[in-house]
């Protein structure tokens, strides 16, 4: 016997309201966790990138230091070689000037060129030629000039001319 004209709806634990509620919170929670997961992943990637960047930075610094030390070395080498080349050229000019200084009538037998001095050995027809033509220019170059003469059998003189530049003045050049 039926006591109602309507068909009874089956009762479930998940009513339509509950379903709506669950759907809403499921979507909300899913989005929250997705955002959290994204943040965690980005954090992990940042750390990775940061470590790579630090390594690259370190490599660059090492390479720059190496290049800088190479540049410094080349500059040092350049300065030293320029100094050596200049010294050789100055030496050549000095020797050139020395031989130009000696007049044709005086014959040199030996020349010793030192850092601060010059010793010349040779023969001269007479002392005057030596004094006017060789000693005078030597005096204008060197601070101290000493000459010794030894008479030869043919009337000429053998001479030793010792010339020095004082150390203090030499440093200035």
């Amino acid at each position: 016997m039926r006591y109602s004209y309507i068909k009874p709806a089956p009762k479930t634990a998940l009513s339509k309201d509950m379903q709506l509620l669950f759907t809403f919170f499921s979507v909300t929670l899913f989005m929250l966790f997705l955002t959290y997961g994204f943040l965690l992943f980005r954090d992990y990637r940042f750390e990775q990138n940061r470590a790579e960047l630090i390594q690259e930075e370190q490599d660059f610094r090492v390479s720059i230091e190496e290049m800088k030390s190479k540049i410094a070395k080349i500059e040092e080498q350049n300065i030293l070689s320029e100094r050596v080349f200049t010294k050789n050229i100055v030496l050549k000019d000095s020797i050139h000037n020395l031989f130009d200084l000696v007049p044709a009538r005086i014959t040199l037998s030996k020349a010793e060129i030192m850092q601060n001095g010059l010793v010349l050995y040779g023969i001269t027809p007479n002392k005057d030629i030596y004094n006017f033509m060789l000693q005078a220019p030597l005096r204008s170059i060197f601070h101290r000039t000493y000459s010794s003469f030894y008479p030869l059998k043919n009337g000429w003189f053998s001479f030793v001319s010792t010339n020095y530049i004082d150390e203090e003045s030499n440093d200035e050049y």
Binding site: D17, L32, E76, L80, I95, L108, Q115
Partner: protein, 193 residues
């Protein structure tokens, strides 16, 4: 007011879930998000710094390459071990005879190794000596002619003696004697090939 038990459960569940969402958002997500923004800014800064370093490295590299190209002769000269026989061979033309004594290691100068070598030679004119001095500056080594220099007339020839300083990089340079000079020359020519 008639509220069903089901509605009460639903309200409680909603409140619990909402509380969770709020706590999770404010306690976890928002701080993490802030941290993410800070880290992103830091990383951008790091990238900018790296780019600056990269640019500086490129500039330094260009400077180094230019220096290396401009001073190739000098760099090679400092690295080349001094070979007595090779020097004699290269500069024999300026003298009637040229003899070099064994290399002697001197104290380091300006961070470079210095070797001293005594030289005796015979020339027929001082002009040969001038040419030799010009050639020394273009030789395979950095060589400085040193005082004292002695010129002594011997009939038509002039005997000259002087010391030379050979500069090389401050490392253990294998000093080449006449016996092993040929083998070193061979190895150098092989390297060049």
């Amino acid at each position: 007011m008639n509220i069903s038990r089901q509605h009460i459960y639903m309200l409680l569940l909603s409140l619990v879930l909402l509380t969770f969402v709020l706590i999770f958002s404010f306690a976890v997500l928002i701080p993490n998000g802030k941290e993410y923004r800070v880290k992103r800014a830091d990383l951008k800064k790091e990238y900018r710094k790296l780019k600056q370093l990269n640019d500086f490295s490129d500039e330094t590299s260009a400077t180094l390459q230019k220096l290396q190209a401009d001073h190739r002769h000098i760099i090679t000269a400092f690295d080349t071990p001094f070979v007595v026989s090779r020097f004699e061979k290269q500069h024999r033309g300026f003298f009637s005879s040229l003899k070099l004594s064994k290399l002697e290691k001197k104290e380091n100068e300006d961070g470079f190794s210095v070797y001293e070598v005594n030289t005796t030679s015979e020339i027929n004119s001082p002009k040969s000596f001038y040419k030799f001095l010009d050639a020394v500056n273009k030789s395979d080594w950095i060589v400085a002619i040193n005082f004292p220099i002695t010129f002594k007339r011997d009939s038509e020839m002039i005997n000259s003696s002087f010391t030379m300083k050979v500069y090389s990089n401050n490392k253990d340079v294998k000093i080449s004697s006449e016996n092993n000079s040929h083998s070193e020359l061979d190895s150098e020519s092989k390297q060049k090939n």
